[in-house]
Symmetry: C2
Subunit: 311 residues, 2 copies
């Protein structure tokens, strides 16, 4: 079967178990992979993308390099891994300017630095267009898989929900982001949250959200539970940008590129999680609950699954 | 300046220091990068390539996947890192067959398995042609940089010298490898040497050789020493394939894709290194010595620098 008929999710599901360790800190197909070594969980993650597919209007190579490290770091942090270092795999047209590549790598280095981590080199190859992969490794005291049990509560960490979606919408509609500084910042410098590590040991599970919140919630439901969304974060600037509550919610649910985490919290641990997040300055929004059953519901209505896939 | 005018080596030299840790187990620009964590050296390496640039006649996706993990593992092992796991970053045309991708990943998994390591997932993206990056991480008891002092001896580890070059030549000249099983094996399944780890602590330095032996020796000379090559390994099958000693030596020096290591050994440690290698079954060839001065000489004559670069 051709990839475009198979679909990316089905492809990844078939690839994930190949060569995966029988005893690992995280199951195959989770946001990151890893091994146990020296009694600790060492995580490894690679994420790739085409420059032209992520460079919004106004973004340059610096921002795209920053975004690349952010995307990989977001997966590691959602698994409670503290990022140590990153490498870049670059495919570059031979008539590209040196300055472009330097800015790309400087942006990646800046994101790594702001995460307390480093760039550890990489590789360049000739390619017909600019394409990148970013790999990162992390040490996890308590690696956190995608997991949920009926009765658990759902929280959204961070404050980019809807904002990155708004920036992507602005790009495709040719709209300016002037007057929307937080929307611009969320899309141009989406730094994942080191503060998540402060919640280590308190959570049932967590998922990186970068293909859109709705898709992420559906991936949670794929674990064999039902997801009931009771509330969604609706920031004033997203509402102002979108023009209506309905349009704003569409951005929150289907925006993508958030690089935030969806957290699953046992009911009895909710107060501790909220207190710890508050102490660390991590925005946390209580969005709903996990139930026995299947599917994703928003205030009782089935939530359509429309996520981004490369094939 | 455009990349094709700058050249790949100059580009990498400018990129390597960006974001690199001030205190690291290996210097920037070495075969792999790394950080200290928990008192140990954790190495990370990414290597990328285009499928069509490495797939020789007769190789399929399985062999290319195998080769990808081998290339990254070779860098880690040359630095005395024991590979733990690998991830794949794949760019794939959407009309590619699923079976092709599965074979690619199965080949990568097989190489990882034969190195005592695992595949830890990866990422797929749409691309105009098949391109891969392979990332790997490793734990090193005694990380070994590129280093050499006048008086040190040079050894070549492994037995692929000239053989991979012969396979590449056969590909471009449309020649069959029938009757040359070791040449075919060297190019199709170039498994790096776990046995190198047995030499940990006995070596001054080492370099991965994958752009050709001559280029690797020139990179050694770039450290500020002279390199005197006194002898080169000339296997009977490489000589038979090449047809003359001169043509065979050309393959040994400029073949590329060896995924073997050039070892720098303090004179007083040579006997111990030879004994350890013999005990482990690691082929070792004494090729020459490091001297004060500069440049690379083969039996007194300057050795031309002609290495492969992507730009």
């Amino acid at each position: 079967m051709r990839l475009k008929d198979l679909g990316e999710r089905a492809l990844l599901a078939r690839l994930a178990p190949l060569g995966y360790p029988p005893e690992a800190p995280l199951p195959p197909g989770d946001d990151a992979g890893g091994v146990w070594a020296e009694g600790r969980a060492w995580l490894l993650k690679t994420d790739g993308f085409l420059y032209r597919e992520v460079a919004l209007k106004g973004m340059g190579p610096f921002e795209v390099g920053f975004r690349g490290v952010a995307a990989t770091a977001s997966d590691l942090l959602a698994k409670m891994g503290r990022p140590l270092g990153f490498t870049l795999g670059l495919f570059l047209p031979e008539d590209l300017e040196e300055g472009f590549v330097l800015e790309l790598v400087r942006g990646a280095a800046e994101a790594a630095k702001r995460l307390g981590a480093f760039l550890l080199g990489g590789d360049t190859n000739r390619g017909v267009e600019v394409a990148l992969t970013v790999s990162g490794y992390a040490l996890a005291e308590a690696p956190l898989p995608r997991k949920a049990l009926p009765g658990d509560l759902l929280y959204l960490a961070g404050d980019r929900w809807g904002r990155t979606g708004a920036a992507i919408r602005a790009h495709y509609e040719g709209r300016s982001l002037e007057g929307f500084p937080k929307i611009r910042e969320a899309a141009f410098y989406p730094l994942p949250r080191l503060e998540l590590l402060a919640l280590s040991g308190l959570l049932r599970g967590s998922l990186d959200s970068s293909d859109g919140l709705a898709e992420t919630l559906w991936q949670l439901a794929d674990l064999g539970v039902g997801v009931e969304v009771e509330a969604l974060p609706l920031y004033p600037d997203v509402l102002a940008f979108a023009g209506s509550e309905e349009a704003a919610l569409e951005l929150v649910l289907y925006g993508g590129e958030e690089f935030e985490a969806v957290l699953v919290v046992p009911q009895e641990g909710a107060a501790a999680v909220e207190a710890r997040a508050k102490a660390k300055g991590l925005p946390l929004f209580r969005a709903g609950r996990v139930v026995a059953g299947e599917g994703v519901y928003l205030r009782g209505a089935p939530l359509p699954r429309k996520g981004y896939a490369h094939f």
